[in-house]
Symmetry: C2
Subunit: 417 residues, 2 copies
Amino acid sequence: MLVVQKYGGSSLQGPDRIRQVAERIVRTRRSGHEVVVVCSAMGDTSDELIDLAEKVSGNRPAREMDMLLTAGERVSNALMAMAIHDLGGSAQSFSGAQAGVFTTADHGSARILDVAPDRVREVLAQGAIALVAGFQGISRDTGDTTTLGRGGSDMTAVALAAALKADVCEIYTDVDGVFSADPRVVGSARLLDSVSCEEMLEMAATGAKVLMSRCVEHARRHDVDICVRSSFTDRPGTLVSPAVEGGSAQDPVVTGVTHTRSIAKLTVADIPAGPPAPAQILEVFSSAGIPLGVLPDIPAPPRNELAFTVRDTDGPHAVELLEQHRARIGYGAVRCDASAGQVSLVGAGIGSGAGVLATVRRTLSEAGIGIHLVSASEIRVSAVCRADQLEDAVRVLHRGFGLDAATEAVVHAGTGR
Amino acid sequence: MLVVQKYGGSSLQGPDRIRQVAERIVRTRRSGHEVVVVCSAMGDTSDELIDLAEKVSGNRPAREMDMLLTAGERVSNALMAMAIHDLGGSAQSFSGAQAGVFTTADHGSARILDVAPDRVREVLAQGAIALVAGFQGISRDTGDTTTLGRGGSDMTAVALAAALKADVCEIYTDVDGVFSADPRVVGSARLLDSVSCEEMLEMAATGAKVLMSRCVEHARRHDVDICVRSSFTDRPGTLVSPAVEGGSAQDPVVTGVTHTRSIAKLTVADIPAGPPAPAQILEVFSSAGIPLGVLPDIPAPPRNELAFTVRDTDGPHAVELLEQHRARIGYGAVRCDASAGQVSLVGAGIGSGAGVLATVRRTLSEAGIGIHLVSASEIRVSAVCRADQLEDAVRVLHRGFGLDAATEAVVHAGTGR
């Protein structure tokens, strides 16, 4: 079996942790598998480097930030190779460029264009362990060092797994896997054995932080099985795979409840009657490249208002843009509410019928939680509420849909997957 | 004018120092010069990385140590590029590989085979400043990251200066330049305006730490002018150049007094009479690749002893080797004296006549300093004495040969060059 293992910064905090991870890697190799390892930078290295850069300069070109930050992964991977040697294993570490991770030239958020891991294959053919610095690549056009942005090391691991046709891509982190809700909010949240890529995508998009959307998207497109698990235990973790079958419209199954505070609710009031104004408003955002979140399925009363969500970081800019177009569109006022939160139910089939949506409304209403906006996709139902009621909303929905351990499900009596 | 500037770790200790160095670089650029910069790792970075590696592993492959250590120079050069941008300058940093520094695959002590700085030239053509990570290169055979060993960043700077046909290679450090003796030992040591490459080579070989021999050798071979100067002041420093003319056998001039404690004195006693035994002893060392230092010009009494110096780190191994061959060679005993020191006078022409040698003997003898061994080359006279008398020896010779500021020279009445 060919296994790609990715270890995050929290799994590499200090020499002792590096040695522990090395033991796991060597154990995997000795059990007969081919092993490719992707290490992130150790612990707080990246933050320390950013801090240093801010002290040195108020004007930090993205190209140079990439040169700076990629040093962190070179260090952690070289150290891991040494720790493996110390255990009698054989290993070689490679930079992103050496491992053939070719990207666009978008410094700070480069996209992987191609992975040509010839040197990784050579090392595997020699029976050794190949280590690849995560988060980094080389621009195909300029030859410069690039970074892949947030979650970049996961991306490196999945892209390598796809290029090498690995049997599994293990993402090691400091939690046991993917949970039915954030365990810090819901004490009875359950560890999921498996999640389909579609569900994981929706969970990532709506607040689950364990995997980034683009990483799951890449895995789905290239048929890579991801296993999210803890580097601190031997628990099996959660399988995220295109092969996992979810529920269906006939038999919907709620997989998890996610939440996020990183949204702002915009309300545009006193809109002129007729279709043009709402269309013009939405056009303002699409031409500015600002993605919109929850939009109500049915116009919310009062009828002359339009409400939707944007990312909280886009909030001020969105208001500014709308104000620029106020005279032309002819609306009355725009309000931005940053104290909003969004709770989502994710599960194959749950958005296609009205049943889940109705249960969400009733469950939240019974708990005294007001909903501003509700929307649903094929496998997701989202509701926007006040931020200070968000965690309550997560808990009542998790319980209400039978996700608490040893609780009968409302929608489906299964034990969850 | 095309200027290569190299800044050592002590010139880059912390964000403030980096900003100060950036100001110097930008000033040089604005005065109309093309500027290529080579930065070492910041302050103690390399020591910290080595410390980390030792904590992680007792078995540290040289290839991985190179991957680890080269991160330090990537960081310092990227930070310097940012600091330059902050001052309104334009700069790009390159790794050794990107700058075309091709080396042998000898990890930890690679030799530069070729420098193809195409990207550096492009940046210069755009009017920007090019920064190159010192101390590192890429193996021409394996494509792996390599390091150049001690003094490696100086080597990078000189090799780049040679490849770019730079007008001068400025080596910035924490001292004002090359002195007539170590100022920590001789308070009245003088800063030298200029030194020939030959003299600098001898000074480096006999204890002057400001430049490494191989760096000066490369400069001499490729006709590069080096200027050693301080990054903390605006003093002009010392020019080390093939064009500097020194003294001659007819008119010898002492340039400086150097010293080192990094030697061990070996004495082989009770050697059988006749030529074979001394030849066999020397052969033991040449076949083991152990370089010998000072050998007496004339056999030292008693006639049945042979004495010479080796590097102190070679001492134990040298004794072990000799003991293995004792029966064959038939000598009586070997002694290793690690508490020896060596003082040297360097200056063109001084070794070719007997005058300087005689003055050295007399000067040291009058100061009550016994000499064990004396040797001379064309431009050097060295004497081995007890380590606890070494600094006295340096001082009396410095004074005796008129090198103290405002002292009449014994050999030559000039004011030094």
